[in-house]
Amino acid sequence: MNVRLYVWQRATAALMAPLVLIHIAVIFYATRQNLTAADILSRTHGSIVWAAYYGIFVAAVSIHASIGVRNILAEWSPLSERRAGLFAVVVGMVLMLLGVHAIVALVVT
């Protein structure tokens, strides 16, 4: 892993630490309340706070996870560093697209 990727992975990790703590709290709250889809949407729909929170989260996790996948492939698979990097870019883009789709579904539509 080069220095640039190392810094991105550590920076996104530091950024996500408080976000993950909040996410775990949300998981505990949501499962306890036995929420329906209507309950969830009534809390998230039109909320700039949820959109911003999960927008930052999705961007950070897409970068963080794709760098992690690249490192694992480069070290544990027969793929070259270049191919591992290309695969990781695809992983990151898929995560970003699905993540943004989820946020739009929960907050906008």
């Binding site: 550590r10 998981i27 999705v58 992690g68 989820a102």
Partner: protein, 116 residues
């Protein structure tokens, strides 16, 4: 690889590094599914509601407990790494790694107690 070459694999900190890596990989595999399910809320919540009812099964709840463990252990393991890399060295890293895994197990257990 010789037995001597594999000896480090029994070390607590090697196991901690492996748990961090495997938990991260598992979460990376889970994430697209998670996002896809949340995307079911598109144009109303009928599809999402159907999924939520399906997820109300004991095996699914157990799997969710596993995911809570993976997320917590990856968070705590990552925090330990950030502290090692950015602050002064502290002794007791093996104990901290064990504490991280034990804390994640406790969080997952509390989750399971609440959902069952």
């Amino acid at each position: 690889m010789s037995a001597a070459g594999l000896k480090h694999r029994g070390n607590t900190l090697w196991i901690a590094a492996m748990i961090h890596r495997i938990s991260g990989l598992a979460l990376a595999i889970f994430l697209p599914i998670h996002f896809f399910v949340l995307g079911l809320a598109f144009h109303g919540g009928a599809h999402l509601d159907k999924f939520l009812r399906w997820s109300d099964q004991p095996l699914v709840k157990l799997a969710e407990g596993g995911l809570v463990f993976l997320l917590t252990v990856h968070l705590l393991g990552g925090l330990r790494l950030l502290v090692i890399e950015n602050l002064d060295w502290r002794d007791g890293q093996k104990q901290l790694a064990t504490l991280a895994a034990a804390s994640a197990a406790v969080v997952a257990f509390i989750f399971l107690v609440r959902v069952f």
